[in-house]
Symmetry: C2
Subunit: 326 residues, 2 copies
DNA sequence: GCCGCCGACGCAAGCGCTTGCGCTTCCCGT
DNA sequence: ACGGGAAGCGCAAGCGCTTGCGTCGGCGGC
């Protein structure tokens, strides 16, 4: 590794001066500057972020901790966050939390030991207190539990789900089912709430028999059970993109025609939504906007640890296609 | 931040001892150990990877640099690499290269200034020489150009594409088209080669009119042009998952029945392959295996910079469904 | 002609950690 | 009773950088 010392020697100045010209932290005579810059060029000096961080305290690094495995939505979010972080001049450290409280805590500690400036976290309930304990600036991403006293950014869930259900109701459906991920996840809980709300707005009664929530991988089986009911649903709202896959598979296995035998609407506008038959009605969540907002909030929080926590809800856009039966 | 000094003070020992206890680098009397560990616990000491790295030289950090934007395959790869890196005891720094030579070079320099131990790189041709120039241990991922003298891991493309084409040929198709990403990308080039090879094996002639390669986003238009040909293809092989989407959209716009009017086979077994009509015949690339192999190669290279470069090709599995017309 | 000021730069103290030496004890063999 | 070895620890250097003080000329104002 070529160090500042090498550059300094070559330019015939002190490392102090090299530092100041590289960082532009104090005026340096023009010809000295030139000599230093030339030396930098010649040596291929890149600097050492590690050493720099040790003295400045900051790393210009953000941690992103979320359940990554087998989740296209998380993947999209990751890409969007990377873009936003880079735009804000930060590097991204990626860590999979496996949706597990212990793993989240461990991840957080690891990130903090790497001195990340801040963390974007999609947490289970188990690790919500950890960031404050560790004193790491954190914004909660995607999942937005109540009363955390933290900055958080996520989709608007209640209203949008309610709209989905109401639309189904207006189409004449009386038995509308809902399949979601684990109710312990705030996103699922909120969408479940929106579902009930929508039912009410459509003047329908809540039938617990018609809702299934659990691990996304089990969504297919859950849907199969719903369809096996004596009086099965004629419409279903899928809580998210991965649940949707299960729902669709179950319907297909049962030989149901989507849109005709069974209306399907879903959260998450998957990229293939227009490629299946019929094209899927769903809500499109502006991932880039969510990511950018989260990064902005985090950067603000890092700059001022004492500002009041902000919660931002970003409403999805309804993409109306034909699986709802229209 | 609580430092070793704090722990040492609390435990009534020197920081040397704390260091040795924490790292288990030399024997320490049991009760001293206990006191130190207790102090660690009490203070919540996490260590400082930055300071540690400064003295040891290593960071136990790997960089992953690839074109991330709008590419589900890259996303899947990212998740797989994260898992593999974590399993190998490394942290992952994620960087989007935007498939651009200059950006790649800049990214590589940034990663090196962060002192990553090694880099996994999906590169354009423009930046292939950079890793060696910078002296960063690197393994090329996913795209595997010839003669790079570097470690590299990627899918087997020629044979698998050829098989796809041959299958189509055996089904009686005479005019088989191919749509891929940019020919400058080695993956596309190889698949194009496999396509020609398959054509030969099926005793068909190569008609340049039937192949389109270019930016994935333009795949739809490219496919539309192919379908508008006086004598349009009766079968098409899509170079990858994102091209596939364009192909399918174009076919749909033209009102073609997949599998009947137009046989479609594809690389990349997208998660929704069984949800469209008819289900798609495609090649499933073992992403986890590719990622794990790449990380292994990289770790080996870090351990021994002078070992001979290895190239690993991982063959995909053909998932035979019905879009081929069977 | 002297003082003060300002522009241009260098000194050296750390940041928190690892690690090669070296210093104490303490015990055991003779 | 004494020498020597081993076990248990601590000292301090130094990783590559930033930054608060200083130093050193040179120049203008009086």
């Amino acid at each position: 590794m070529v160090t500042m010392r090498d550059v300094a020697r070559l330019a015939g100045v002190s490392i102090t001066t090299v530092s100041h010209v590289v960082n532009e932290t104090r005026p340096v005579a023009q010809d000295t500057r030139d000599r230093v810059l030339a030396a930098v060029e010649e040596t291929g000096y890149t600097g050492d972020a590690i050493a720099r961080s040790l003295v400045t305290g900051g790393t210009r690094t953000l941690g992103l901790a979320l359940p990554l495995a087998g989740n296209p939505h998380a993947a999209a979010l990751t890409a969007a966050v990377e873009a936003a972080a880079t735009a804000a001049g930060h590097t991204l450290i990626l860590a999979d939390t496996h949706d597990d409280g212990d793993a989240e805590r461990a991840t957080l500690r690891a990130l903090r030991s790497r001195r990340v400036d801040g963390v974007l976290l999609t947490a289970t309930a188990g690790a919500l207190a950890e960031p404050r304990r560790l004193g790491v600036p954190t914004v909660l991403l995607d999942r937005v539990p109540e009363h955390t006293g933290a900055d958080q950014v996520g989709p608007e869930n209640v209203q949008s789900t309610s709209d989905l259900v109401r639309h189904l109701g207006e189409l004449g459906h009386r038995r509308i089912a809902m399949v979601t991920g684990p109710a312990a996840v705030s996103t699922s809980a909120e969408r479940l709430l929106g579902y009930r709300l929508g039912l009410g707005r459509a003047k329908l009664v809540w039938d617990p028999e018609l809702v299934a929530s659990g691990p996304p991988a089990a969504a297919g089986d859950a849907m199969a059970s719903l369809l096996a009911l004596p009086s099965p649903p004629t419409a279903v709202v899928a809580g998210d993109g991965v649940v949707l896959v299960g729902v669709l598979r179950a319907a297909r296995r049962r030989g149901l025609m989507i849109g005709t035998d069974l209306a399907v609407v879903s959260h998450d506008d998957v990229e293939w939504a227009d490629l299946v038959d019929p094209p899927l009605t769903s809500t499109a969540h502006p991932v880039a906007e969510i990511a950018a907002t989260a990064v902005r909030l985090l950067v603000d929080r890092i700059a001022d640890p004492d500002r009041l926590p902000t919660t931002v809800r970003i409403p999805p856009r309804l993409v109306h296609r034909r699986s709802c039966g229209c």
